[in-house]
Subunit: 339 residues, 2 copies
DNA sequence: ACTGGCACTCGCTACAGTCGAGTGCCAAAG
DNA sequence: CTTTGGCACTCGACTGTAGCGAGTGCCAGT
């Protein structure tokens, strides 16, 4: 049976009430709180249909109805209207982000801000190295056989790593090496570096050949393969809101999942600027079924350099959360564009 | 009334049993599990005294006894013997830390290791900048009026910050400025830099005067005053062990406290190599009364460059935790000494 | 197609009763 | 003076019963 407009209205009302009260909602209280223009009995019939179709369910035989993941999905896709942020919220975002002093600062402020406004767990990915270009490579001698390589990306990220040289280099050799690497790599996207690094080795003068080999290993390993991506997390305390009613009582698996950077990256490591909503079981991570995740990409201008998002109970205020996540992503993009 | 040896034995037995079972311990089960050589009635008398003195208490009138903070304190100070780590644990520590590739890596591995072994929340402070010396200062031109300052400390930490110049500088001027700053600051302790930075400004050639002023502001602000200290955290999921029996049911305040870097620093920002144990109410942070914290300093050789520690329920295995924290600190020190 | 009425379900709360671990006290023994 | 066995008492945990009420499904009537 198809769902007519009124049934959709009923579903919307159920979602809204349940999100607000956190209690299963019955037919009577529904008609009281919303102008549906029909009697409780009619609503009950509609509810029976909605339940048959899998959009809502009863926790116990004689209790009210609760939306299912499928119900939330329908709500998000077709029933909710975007809720614009209040001017106060906009101002709060701006005030909070202005004054950030370096990339670390921007990311930390953003993640805290997001957690605070949405009152949920917030995750922000650092600008992805894969999508950055090399601004400068610095080689700092630590001893005659040891260099510290510092890479500065155009997104403001700075990565460092030590490299053990097979043979000692003197000051002028380091200078040459520094010039060569910078000439070769500056301005290129990190994901494009492997062939360039190889060319660097091939073209190096004989005396620097061994050193460039060592250097190239470290460059490839650190900048392309390894932990490459970083994330910041905030607002875990918000998981305890709703006194363990959400998350069926056990925060354990959620906290465990949140400790894994890899998992966080999967959640919010967006490539597209699209805002994505994952509801309950739609989630790929087993530990996080039972939670919903709203994520989006951000970046200066139209290009995307990283993702951010929030995680909360499936019973969350989707319109509000989506609006906030988008707004914060836009502001962060503007912040980055200024550098 | 003074506590004779047997009363101390009884206290020790109570602490051990309670830590193991997590249930109030009664006189009968005590004599069953320990060879005290006396009857339950005698133990009861001793318990009454211990309770008068404030070392133990009854949750309910007709329940067994539970140690108080004061009881744990006495236990830690006088009754517990250091529990040496098993060879397996030692090997696990070594295996886990070997292969760390840069400072970030060392810190992350350490904090996860600590959380895993103790099965509690672990906190590790990055080597304090105040206790580091400057190894190198790099100035990277981003535009003609903008520099990125990258400071590399001897502990491996790298901090960066952008500085807006009052007037454009050309390449050679930047080189001069770089040479001057490095000559002045390299090798000196960060806490000693303020006068040196001032001298740098005073001695700068006329044409670079304005630039050094801008630079000095940023240097002082970033490297000395600002977020200077960083910490890593892991194992929050361990808070949920013991199914909310610890922490009287609410993780909220604890998670909130753990989100504040300032608070974490207070907890483990040790200056001395002494291992410190804070039990329950001894804690200065209100949100964390009800938890215990074991912390110690670490560093290469005898000097201390940072702190690390764990946080758990007052009902924790103190001897084991203390031994682990110390061992991990020692290994981290050795790792750092190798750089 | 909608509505009012009605019987039914079932979780929640309150209350009473039982059980048992553990205590405090006391008088007797060492 | 310390230790011990005995004993009455306390009180939380658990169990079973009963009443309440929100909510449902169904059905007959409009």
């Amino acid at each position: 049976m198809a769902l007519d407009d009124r049934k959709l209205d009923v579903l919307r009302a159920i979602v809204e009430d349940y999100v607000a009260t956190q209690e299963p909602v019955g037919s009577k209280s529904l008609v009281e709180r919303h102008q549906l223009g029909v009697s409780p009995a009619t609503v009950r019939n509609d509810m029976a249909v909605l339940e048959d179709e899998g959009y809502i369910r009863q926790p116990h035989t004689s209790a009210g109805r609760v939306p299912t993941d499928r119900g939330y999905r329908l709500f998000v896709d077709r029933l909710s209207t975007v809720k614009p942020l209040s001017p106060a919220e906009r101002r709060a975002i701006e005030r909070f982000l202005v004054g950030a002093v370096d990339l670390d600062d921007v990311v930390h402020r953003t993640v805290r801000l997001l957690a605070q406004i949405t009152r949920q767990v917030a995750v922000v990915q650092y600008p992805s190295l894969a999508r950055s270009t090399v601004r400068h490579l610095e080689l700092v001698p630590i001893s005659t056989t040891r260099l510290m390589v510092v890479m500065i990306a155009n997104t403001g990220r700075v990565e460092q790593r030590q490299v053990e040289l097979p043979a000692p280099l003197d000051e002028s050799q380091v200078t040459t090496l520094r010039r060569l690497t910078n000439e070769k790599l500056c301005g290129s996207k990190l994901s494009d570096t492997p062939p360039l690094v190889q060319a660097l080795v091939d073209e190096a003068p004989q005396e620097l050949r061994a050193a460039t080999v060592a250097l190239s290993t470290v460059l490839l390993e650190t900048l392309v393969e390894r932990h490459e991506e970083r994330v910041a997390l905030a607002g875990t305390a918000n998981l305890t809101r709703g006194g363990l009613l959400d998350f069926q009582g056990s925060l354990r698996p959620i906290l465990e999942a949140l400790e894994e950077e890899v998992i966080l990256l999967k959640l919010i490591g967006e490539v597209e600027p699209i805002t994505r909503v994952r509801i309950g079981d739609e989630n790929e991570i087993d530990n996080l079924r039972g939670t919903s995740i709203v994520s989006t990409g951000y970046g200066p201008g139209v290009t995307i350099v990283g993702g951010l998002g929030v995680l909360g109970p499936t019973r969350m205020d989707y319109p509000g959360t989506i609006a906030t996540v988008r707004a914060v992503a836009r502001y962060v993009g503007e912040m980055l564009a200024q550098n």
